[in-house]
């Protein structure tokens, strides 16, 4: 019976990938262990993660051939591996730095996909602004040493399994796109020449943004303003409350 199953069939690859992903994430997540066992678990987890990744890569090869573009392969590997590291790293400071690397990978993916503006914007907005803000907070709030709550996770096994199952489900449905049996997705690649790679890409994006989506852009601007004012107002009130608390105490 077992011989009848092709070990490289997409189904088996997918199942292997999902299982390996769950096991790897569980091993890698902080579970409050002592140093030696933790290190062992991390090595095993990292190897399992690599196996899972290769399984998914193989699935992708079977699905459509991932090797077409080496650049895409490299940047997406960077994005995915550093994202996994972000999630499993004990120290939040290192997690933030891993996240920055992951962002770089994602920016690369976006560039490969032809969204130059978005790639650059991701770096600028996320890595440049948001992440630095996070680091400020971390440095402000971080106690000396590794906090106990950074060394344990909330239900690591369940969370890892849930994430892996979700990934499996998503892969399954993405894989079904190729089958072409779904009338909704049977539409072949559009004949319309995509202009995303053309030289005046950013100008066109801007035209689209400030033409068709002008109202939405205004609304987004207002939203940003409200967030700015709101965060200041909340901080002011929290400070006031703290001062009063201290006076009362």
């Amino acid at each position: 019976m077992l011989a009848a199953i092709d070990p490289f069939s997409p189904g088996v690859l997918l199942a292997t990938g999902v299982t390996a992903t769950a096991a790897s994430l569980w091993l890698l997540l902080p579970r409050g262990q002592s140093g030696r066992r933790e290190r062992t678990a991390r090595w095993v987890g990292a190897l399992l993660g690599l196996a899972a990744l290769s399984a998914f890569v193989a699935t992708g090869r079977r699905l459509g051939g991932l090797g077409e573009e080496a650049v895409f392969l490299i940047v997406s590997l960077v994005a995915v591996v550093s994202a996994a590291a972000t999630v499993v790293t004990r120290s939040p400071v290192y997690a933030a730095i891993w996240f920055a690397l992951s962002l770089a990978g994602v920016a690369g993916v976006l560039l490969v996909l032809g969204a130059q503006f978005l790639g650059v914007a991701t770096i600028v907005v996320y890595a440049g602004a948001i992440l630095v803000m996070f680091l400020f907070v971390l440095m402000l709030a971080q106690p000396s040493g590794l906090a106990p709550y950074d060394r344990v996770s909330n239900e690591p096994l369940l969370a890892a399994v849930a994430g892996a199952v979700l990934l499996g489900l998503l892969s399954l449905s993405i894989g079904r796109l190729s089958a072409g049996d779904d009338p909704a997705t049977a539409d072949p690649a559009p004949a319309v020449a995509v202009d995303a790679l053309q030289a005046d890409h950013v100008a066109r994006l801007g035209g689209e943004l400030f033409g068709r989506h002008l109202v939405a852009i205004e609304a987004a601007g207002v939203l940003l303003l409200i967030a700015l004012v709101g965060s200041i107002a909340i901080v002011a009130r929290t400070e006031e409350a703290r001062v009063q608390e201290r006076r009362a105490g």
Binding site: I130, F134, A141, S153, N154, E155, L158, G163, A164, L209
Partner: protein, 147 residues
């Protein structure tokens, strides 16, 4: 360039980012790391949107990603204010520090005693020193052990 395999590969990358972000949100206890994970989920979504945008030769996906960026920035601003507020109340960045909404008859969930860790004290990233060594401030050294 606009082939189906390309789309699928990009979608898989987006799915992996999304799933990892979900695991991070569910498992990690540090509020900051939870937000990093949430941003990671948004990244996964952004990748998928751009991939679809490319596949269909339509600007819609990219426009949507711009709004995702905007909302992520707002969210980060507001969320950090709350995280700071929470930290000032408890002195911790622990999501499990807030349990007041539990059933009255139940006790507080307390972490088990952790074995000693040999990774202490935490090593923070450093840069190679260059130039003149700055004078160290004695007071500051007394107050802080690191950085």
């Amino acid at each position: 360039m606009q082939s189906l395999p390309m789309l699928q590969n990009a979608l898989i990358v987006g799915a992996i980012l999304f799933s990892l972000g979900l695991v991070g949100i569910l498992a990690r206890r540090n509020l900051i790391v939870m937000f990093l994970a949430a941003e990671m989920m948004l990244q996964g979504i952004s990748v998928s949107l751009v991939a679809w945008s490319r596949y269909h030769g339509d600007w819609g996906g990219q426009i949507l990603v711009i709004f995702v960026l905007t909302v992520a920035a707002c969210e980060a601003a507001i969320a950090l204010v709350f995280v700071l507020g929470a930290f000032s109340r408890t002195g911790r960045l622990d999501a499990a520090a807030w349990q007041s909404l539990r059933e009255a008859t139940l006790g507080r969930v307390i972490d088990r005693e952790l074995p000693a860790s040999d990774t202490l004290p935490q090593k923070f990233p450093t840069l190679t020193p260059a130039g003149v060594l700055p004078e160290t401030d004695e007071d500051e050294l007394l107050q802080r052990e690191h950085v």
